[in-house]
Symmetry: C6
Subunit: 268 residues, 6 copies
């Protein structure tokens, strides 16, 4: 994935293609920047005297998913690198007199406990969607989850088999949604209303508008429709905008509620 391939792509050369499963790469807490971005192969450098590039996790995650647990505890600079790559689709390494770029198109998923520390506002803004996960309060449901977990611990294989059909159905639904996505339409009127929500909530930049449009389309495609409905937008807009609102330090209610309030004000 060195410069030669890039040149070939630029020249339009037809390269041989191999089909593989989508990678799910897990970034272990404490991985170094070297391991993430790739580095010089010391062994080759010492034995053969050449500067060889050893690809990192970003290269491995290319065309797949990169998952980071406790993303809020990662070094800001490393998060920056991840978001840069996720946004541009290329990882560029500039060090020790070497400049290498390779494609790094992946979906970045981060999770974390906000009580342990928050991301910088600007970094938060660069995440497309932001979901809040709470704890189930219903005791019966809790017991059910505890039992599922015990069932998994007893026999992981059997557990997976019992959910196979459900998982296959979901996978099919996603695959079909992916192929139908490009033909999903969104009315001009709805687009303007989305932008009005963003503008009246004082969302900086246009990432909020763009992401809401995309997410609404994706949801419509998942439901098998080729037209976005206001309900689609209502479902996705809190997750698309919640983290882009300026925090009022005196207010403790979830920003998502402010978004949905403004949605109803403008859409009805």
């Amino acid at each position: 994935m060195g410069p030669e391939v890039r040149e070939s792509i630029v020249k339009g050369v037809q390269l041989p293609v191999a089909t593989t499963k989508i990678n799910m790469v897990d970034l272990p807490l404490g991985a170094t920047e070297d391991r993430v971005c790739g580095t010089i192969d010391i062994e080759k450098a010492l034995t053969e005297g050449v500067k060889a590039f050893e690809p990192g996790l970003l290269a491995k995650a290319n065309r797949g998913i990169l998952y980071v647990d406790e993303v809020n505890l990662l070094d800001d600079h490393l998060v920056d690198v991840l978001l840069d790559s996720a946004a541009s689709g290329w990882n560029t390494v500039e060090r020790e007199g070497i400049s290498i770029s390779h494609p790094a198109r992946f979906i970045l998923i981060g999770s974390g406990n906000p009580e342990e520390g928050e991301l910088r506002p600007q970094l938060l803004d660069r995440f497309g969607m932001h979901a809040q996960v709470g704890t189930v309060r219903d005791a019966e449901l809790r017991v059910k989850i505890v039992e599922e977990r015990a069932r998994f611990d007893k026999n992981p294989k059997e557990f997976r088999v019992s959910y196979e059909a459900e998982q296959d159905k979901l996978q099919e639904q996603i695959t079909s949604a992916r192929s139908g996505l490009s033909s999903v339409q969104i009315d001009q009127d709805l687009k303007v209303k989305i932008s009005r929500v963003c503008s009246e909530l004082n969302v900086d930049g246009l990432r909020g508008d763009i992401v809401t449009n995309r997410a609404a389309k994706a949801l419509a495609a998942l439901k098998g429709r080729d037209n976005v409905t206001p309900e689609d937008i209502a479902t996705v807009i809190p997750n698309c905008l919640r983290h882009r609102l300026r925090k009022d330090p005196l207010e403790s209610i979830d920003s998502g509620l402010l978004v949905i309030e403004k949605f109803y004000e403008i859409f009805s």
Copy 2:
């Protein structure tokens, strides 16, 4: 314990088995991450020019017990590594262009003086159980302990022999409990009540529910029963939940008392 063994396990290859005593590994204060997780063997790297993995304490503790004194003074990152391994059963090392995983299934036991510093709430939450140890106030009992200690200092061998029968009985009891554990049952009604205690105490996540279920079953097995009683739960639940409650900085009573209060409110 390199990737080949993992592959063999995945392929279902039957590997030769050796029976050994359970290891009790002591993590000395000030051990480096290299020593804990394993590192590259410098000698081999320099003399043979290959990157060989030198296993660390986690590998040594595999299928045994890892004991950490003053766990609250350990670097947060190192505790994280320990808990990750303890939870997943695998230790993954990603550095200098090497990615190695080996099984690291061990029971982690930590001790410490909370007045010297606390663990981060999220780390505390990942410990299964949390016991509080106080000092004996009864003078006669203190004298007895002092005498036992003096007896040990005088002749450690003789001291150990005098307790051998008692120790053997305890070992037998544990072994028998281990084999009986899988057949211990817990009533649906008790499970729901456990989850109600957790839910009403605002315990985040479901680790509290899972651990209480497991600990109650283990206690029943130790007592030779195959059914969990409310008394079993009453015995273990303060240790399972005490450290998962949000601290109220104005309140100084032990969280365990709050747990037991809630237990009696729900179970009677």
Copy 3:
């Protein structure tokens, strides 16, 4: 671009000339000073035993444009190096017993979010012009931008083609303005008024005066005129002086408004 070339330039030797496109060099976040200024070539040093200079991004940006995103997050010292080179047109590296200078004439463009941190006042003062970029509040316009972006994402090539004519026209306009710039005149009376604005706004130093004169001339040239009008000055003066005013911490209005107010007071 070592000392020999400098000597040749000093001696007036006629060097062979090659015409190339203007470089647009992007400084990636986290680039090291070595990579920016150039460093010793380790490979050559080890294998051939000589100290060879490996040029950095400043050398690459020579006679072009150097763009730095999030310039306010760059290490102050690195910004200093950039501004020194941008001002003097030479990059001088003094380290490990080596002193090398090479021409580094480039236009420096930085962008950043001031809420994430400000540049030191003295550094700010060394930027020629300072533009403030806000978010469009008009929903219809937002939708239009979102649609343009979607059109680009769908087919970047087609998108670029659709703007080619417009871009070519702009390029021509700039080229013609460049050649006409040296004949643009500015009346003595206007010059004095510019300096009165600077003086009455308590702008330290004379960079503000010099830059306003140059920017007004450049604007006149872009509009195809050879005489600066008060309107030209009104257009450029807020961007030339906004960042050179002492901040009054109690006042939250944009400094650009203070500049334009003073402009009208003095020019009418």
Copy 4:
């Protein structure tokens, strides 16, 4: 003192014995952990390619006395290492893939000025006894000390000779006390009273009880008796418990006085 010796000891092999003077090792301020615990012999590693252990001050102090001036200014971690070794009698080094243990049985004596910084409470607690040293206020006595010092400075040899008889007598007394120590008895009633003092002073753990018992026996042995008297206990108990009391920040009286007060309350 490598693993082979340890194995031999475990196997009960009879090793040859050499009689030497007791070592008095002085830990110089600023000694590194390497120098204290021992490290890899770099010379051997480089020239012979083997990992050889080079013993440190702990090995040198084995079966002797280790003296640390300004122990309160030592790095907490280093004090920890010293106390661990002093307590267990073994020094274990775990680094760079090496694990070495050697016997390190020594008496640790530390001194320091508490106004320059205090030891962590938990470390303080691990010192057996804690003596407070004040300055003589009587002018005549001060002059006598000054004169002794001047006499020493003038002729150190002569000074030492003049005290030789006194020193010899003291040494004999200690040797005889050592051999008589194991036959010294302490009444059950006195033991309970010691533990009552500890318990009522809220001393955490049982180190206070154990040390007081041992110190009282040692004092009786030094006085040539084979029975501990309440006076023996009164003499040693302030030094054994003074540093184990929780500090009341509002109270400035010496903790030793609180100990002696409680002693008289319980023993009479």
Copy 5:
């Protein structure tokens, strides 16, 4: 400029002399101490196995001028080194077992913006004179400077030629002042009055007195006189003493005014 030359100087050996232009050495922001003081030549050390000294900027500035922009942002330790060398006329390097001294007689000129940070009082005190530079407020004059700058930017060569006569006259004046300096006299009465000003302003040490005497003589010499007048003293004394006064944090007026006030009080 190694020890051999020093020895020769001590022995009075007549060394060959070469006449060169006075060096004007510019200390680039971010130069390392190695580069300033000189260091070991790594190349020679590795290839020839000897410790060779590679002279730094101080050696280059010998018998010339060393200019440091933003001297207030330099590391205090580096400023210290500069002032030590400037004061003693020798640069002594003590490191890695080498001790080398070479003459480093230069005039040190520093500039900086005090709003960006101040020098330590003691460092300030070691600068001979301290001038304050303000911004011209007169608009006509500002325009003239802007025009001069534009003229320079258009044709630097021509600009320099136009000032050549003026520059030559100034150079001549300085050369003649230098040769006349040793015969300039200052009346005993004036000397006492200078010391009274210093004493009554509570200037610590005698650097203020010495520098004022020298500066007044230099000014008289520049004006072609061989006698210092009170006017000479009035001209130089604010710059010689301004930075040696203790700052009263509540007073914001320039210390130079306090100096001139005291001057008039004592001299009239």
Copy 6:
């Protein structure tokens, strides 16, 4: 000055003696601990493969004077090393598996500006005497010093010659005082009074008493007497005790005045 010499001294071997001038070693600001204490000779280690000791400034200062300017800005640890060596007369280096001791008997003189930072109380206490240096306020005297300095700058050689007789006389006086010092007596009554001053001023330890006795004897010897008078004590006691008094943060008068007050109270 390695261990062999030490052994020879211990064995009483008669070593050849060379007479040299007393060294005056200047510790340059920023000298490393390696350079002060001595270190391993890298050159020898690399070329000959042996660990050779390269002596530092302490070895050079042996039997001479070590002068440290700005001693209050030195790293506390380095000052500690200096005082340890000055007190014990030996420099012990313990690092990288080497333990070397060599004699380091020198007189340590430090100077500094207390406004720039104070020494730790315990370090201050280890300096024998502490003199305060102020600025001359008398203008005539200031002029005289300025003139002397100008005379030195003009012709250093001539200046030194003009003071030679005076210097020689002083040197003779010191030499004669040195030889007479051992026969100087101090009355028992005066000794007790000195210790009473120390005791009533709450001086910790006995260094104050010892130093005052020594300094008074030295002064008597310098004056050619063989008996200490109360006037001798009055002269030296403020310098011997001033820095050993606990600072009362609310009091700003010089501690030396408190000492002299107490002196008159007790001696009359």
